[in-house]
């Protein structure tokens, strides 16, 4: 039987606010365990939550960027369950009235038309702490993460393959990082993704029984886990079995899933409106103020790169993949008028080094200013592209400007006509046999002479001029 896959994602993004969602403690990652806490975070008797308004700003930002309706009347709700890293015995979240609804995000897979993925809702909530089980006999609890603000983004079941899920998640990551509300780091857990997966006979309009996949802590694992689950479900159904609704944990080491809890064991969260926080009213003015501060989003930036820098769409897409890379490109292009040249260098040389060194462009050792300096030397014919690549390699390890390296090492291109004429004359004199061949009509051999001139000048000769002088002298 031919099956259609149905996938919906629930994505949690940790917000980059300085303070926690309901108290003043720091949200910084990696402090001493339990150092970033206070009576509110610890769930001490008698404490009360006070909403950090920045979280609402961030939620509105994301809602606007994903084409959502911003809900004017908001309520927080308590979601109850017992676990040692949940200090109050409940998580403050939103239930019936989330802040954003009815949005969408467009994805494009290679060679396919753009597809629209619906966003059901986005809501604000607090993160739980961390339980550390492998620290000896006892389980240890670190509450530094407790109370860190989260936005949960729930998609419609609109994705039909693991690749689409991957593209949607990548699109979300791109948006949250562009908005500067989340660092998008899946490995550190600041971006987390759960997937609801089901299959149904192609053409059917009813949904099959779904399973929920958890614990996929990288983009690659999201794709692997979903593909694994599709295959598992397909096997079961093809062999006449039925899918059991359950929550599954992905084990990346083994590459399989294991059951976490069944439908019967599912929690009754006993949601009810949080009485310690008044309903939150979001005015048109508030939304307008956030909208006015909204940064340029990936799609707009891509279009602008195409028109402003006359770049091919593909280049614009690569350069706007991350905001930091786009900023870097623009900083170089501001000081170097050949934007095509800049684009080529950033896309090939810079990206290669970033990949090799496994770093982000923010940590790249050659600043935009220095790269522009280097590229301008090519434009002014001071150095050839080949010499420029050598200098680029050298610049990776020091802080010198390209011009300084050129001067120090005497790498400036020889564009002096009389000097080049002398060298060319010498090369012609030294290679009578090849001169014969040229004059016999083997014009291709000219590249041999160019090579000899380059060898004599250690690559510094201006190649265009060398060509011209060679032809003139050989035909003389």
């Amino acid at each position: 039987m031919d099956f259609e896959v149905v996938i919906g994602l629930e994505v949690h993004t940790q917000l980059l606010t300085d303070a926690k969602i309901f108290s003043g403690s720091s949200t910084a990652f990696g402090g001493e365990p339990n150092s970033q806490t206070d009576p509110v975070v610890l769930g001490m008797p008698g404490v009360l939550p006070v909403l950090n308004k920045k979280v609402v700003d961030f939620a509105i930002r994301l809602g606007l960027a994903t084409n959502c309706t911003i809900v004017p009347y908001n309520r927080f709700a308590r979601k109850h369950y017992f676990y040692p890293d949940l200090p109050k015995g409940y998580q403050i979240s939103q239930y019936e009235l989330p802040i954003c609804e009815h949005g969408h995000l467009d994805i494009t897979l290679e060679d396919q038309p753009t597809k629209r993925i619906g966003i059901t809702r986005i809501h604000m909530e607090e993160d739980a702490g961390k339980s550390i089980h492998d620290a000896g006999v006892d389980t240890l609890v670190d509450l530094n993460r407790s109370g860190v603000p989260l936005l949960e983004i729930v998609s419609e079941p609109d994705m039909r393959s693991a690749a689409e899920a991957h593209a949607y998640l990548a699109g979300l990551k791109q948006i949250v990082t562009y908005l500067e509300i989340c660092d998008g780091n899946m490995e550190e857990g600041s971006l987390r993704c759960d997937a609801n997966v089901s299959i149904r006979p192609r053409g059917s309009s009813e949904f099959g029984t779904k399973t929920e996949l958890k614990n996929m802590n990288s983009f690659r694992n999201v794709e692997r886990a979903i593909n694994y689950e599709i295959e598992r479900q397909t096997d079961i159904v093809s062999n006449g079995g039925t899918i059991v609704q359950e929550t599954l944990l992905w084990d990346a080491n083994v590459g399989t899933v294991r059951a976490m809890r069944s439908k019967e064991e599912a929690h009754d969260y006993r949601y009810f409106p949080e009485p310690d926080l008044l309903p939150l009213q979001i005015s048109e003015e508030w939304i307008a103020a956030v909208r006015a501060e909204l940064p340029e989003l990936p799609e707009e930036k891509k279009q602008r790169f195409v028109s402003e820098y006359k770049l091919p769409v593909y280049n614009a897409e690569v350069l706007t993949a991350s905001k930091a890379l786009a900023n870097y490109f623009e900083a170089v292009a501001k000081s170097c008028e050949d934007s095509k040249l800049v684009s080529n260098w950033v896309m090939t040389d810079v990206l290669r080094v970033l990949k090799e060194q496994k770093i982000d462009v923010e940590d790249f050792t050659i600043s935009a200013q220095r790269l522009a300096g280097l590229l301008n030397l090519i434009l002014k014919n001071t150095i050839s592209a080949k010499i420029a690549r050598d200098i680029f390699e050298e610049m990776l390890g020091n802080e010198d400007e390209a011009l300084a390296i050129v001067e120090k090492k005497g790498l400036a291109q020889i564009s002096d006509t009389s000097e080049l004429e002398g060298i060319v004359a010498q090369v012609i004199a030294d290679n009578p046999k090849q001169v014969e061949q040229f004059r016999a009509g083997k014009e291709k051999i000219i590249s041999y002479f160019v090579g000899q001139v380059m060898k004599a000048t250690r690559g510094k000769a201006n190649p265009g001029m060398v060509n011209e002088i060679l032809r003139k002298q050989l035909k003389a």
Partner: protein, 474 residues
């Protein structure tokens, strides 16, 4: 014994020293030990503070509005470095790392907190019999209950062990013990006083309020603790007038409503007669009195016990033995740790309410109970709003009966819950009310009269209470 406002003025005038006074109060606390008003007495801290404030006075510094006074707190309010037990085994050894906002305010006004008082466990009860630390006794008749849940705070003031005290009122927990002990107790409007540092029972109903010997003293205490608090999102940015100035203020033109439903079946006849007699006196003095319909009061207890227990089941989830409080020993796994810690730590009434609350919030029952309860609450609030279009204040008995015998109702929770029948609606509506002594039964037991006013109309409440206090004194 003089009232608090007088003592404060005498202290400012140099009539006595706190170093002497503190010994008197501690002696009185010791002498009344059998009433079991206090769970903790802060003798050493109070002595130190007494000396410090005496020195401050000697140095000529400006003194706060509570200078010269000893204050008792219900032991569900947090004080940094001191235990906050909530009358529960589960918090027996819990030491709070921070001060409640009311504590900060009292200290800032040079009040001395002399100790923390007994209460029904987590403020759940109407007699202060549900305490891990034993029941409190009524100073008027020690065989009778002090009322509850703020029984200890009522007793502390009634027996002169403190000049003023604070209680918390979720369904009548200040007004009912005030009525039983023959003193003034008041529940401010929801949002008038910060709840930060008050251990929550039912968050949408809880409010801290004062106990005092008379109306002016209650006003003095409310002056200090009122106001917006950035740590409590439900506290309101409403002006805080000088409530002491309202006492003795003009009551001409104020209309009083008598809710018909509060004078029907179930009301003790002596109390009914007493309240009617007071009403007659007011009428004779030229006050306008009219009947008012509060028919929805019949649903108040039901709605209250759904909403209050729902919130309680949630608020008490944090007592899990993980970070603080009682933890069962030698447990096999996490589930057993939770189950046994909570089973050992909580008393019967708390367990009953946690189970009720968990049930009304559970999936499949939420709409039938919690949601319906909230709808009833909204209607009750509307009915009060309507009533206050016609009248300025409502006058009712505080309780259906005077203080009952210790042990009389402990085995009958429904009877116990009915002790709050005239008080819970005020919490559901989020408005303010005050209970004041209005006489005694033939047995000599105090009768409480309740005045109810709309949201943030405390000033009106104090004006009328001051007037009635004078009228009854004549």
């Amino acid at each position: 014994m003089e009232n608090a406002l007088q003592r404060h003025r005498q202290y400012i005038a140099g009539d006595f020293t706190l170093v002497d006074a503190v010994e008197e109060y501690l002696k009185r606390i010791e002498a009344n030990k059998s009433l079991n008003a206090f769970i903790q007495v802060y003798g050493d801290e109070a002595r130190q503070q007494a000396a410090a404030i005496d020195a401050k006075r000697a140095g000529g510094a400006k003194l706060g509005s509570l200078a010269g006074l000893f204050i008792a707190l219900k032991d569900n309010m947090c004080m940094k470095g001191q235990r906050t037990t909530c009358g529960s085994r589960i918090l027996d050894q819990f030491v709070s790392p921070y001060d409640a906002t009311v504590v900060r305010k009292i200290i800032a006004e040079d009040g001395i907190i002399i100790g923390k008082t007994n209460l029904d466990e987590f403020a759940m009860g109407s007699s202060t019999e549900n305490s891990y630390y034993g029941h409190s006794r009524n100073p008027i008749d020690p065989e009778r209950v002090a009322g509850g849940s703020s029984g200890g705070s009522a007793v502390a003031v009634a027996a002169g062990m403190a000049d003023l005290s604070l209680g918390s009122d979720t369904g009548g927990s200040i007004r009912q013990p005030a009525a039983f002990c023959g003193i003034v107790g008041m529940k401010p409007t929801y949002g008038r006083v910060s709840r930060y540092g008050l251990v929550a029972f039912a968050s949408s109903l809880d409010q801290i309020g004062p106990f005092a010997k008379n109306v002016s003293d209650a006003a003095l205490m409310l002056n200090v603790i009122s106001g917006l608090d950035p740590n409590d999102s439900t506290s309101m940015d409403e002006m805080v007038p000088d409530y002491t100035a309202a006492v003795g203020g003009d009551v001409t033109g104020l209309t009083i409503g008598l809710p018909t439903q509060f004078f029907q079946e179930g009301l003790d006849s002596e109390i009914a007669d007493n309240i009617k007699a007071v009403t007659k006196q007011l009428e004779d003095a030229g006050m306008t009195i009219k009947p008012v319909d509060l028919s929805l009061n019949d649903y108040a207890i039901a709605a209250y016990y759904i909403i209050a227990t729902a919130e309680a089941s949630s608020n008490l989830a944090r007592y899990d033995g993980v970070r603080y409080g009682h933890r069962a020993e030698e447990v096999g796994d996490l589930n057993e740790m939770y189950t046994r810690s909570r089973s050992e730590g909580f008393g019967a009434e708390v367990k009953r309410r946690v189970m009720l609350g968990a049930h009304v919030l559970s999936s499949g029952y939420y709409d039938a109970y919690y949601k319906k309860g909230q709808q009833v609450r909204r209607l009750i609030k509307n009915q009060f709003d309507d009533a206050f279009k016609d009248v300025d204040l409502l006058l009712t008995p505080t309780t259906p009966s005077p203080a009952f015998k210790i042990g009389e109702k402990v085995d009958d929770p429904l009877q116990m819950y009915l002790s709050d029948i005239y008080t819970v609606t005020v919490n559901l509506a989020g408005i303010c009310a005050l209970s004041m002594p209005s006489g005694k039964t033939t047995e000599g037991l105090p009768i409480g009269l309740q005045l109810i006013a709309g949201a943030f109309q405390e000033e009106k409440l104090f004006r009328m209470a001051g007037y009635i206090e004078n009228l009854l004194a004549e």
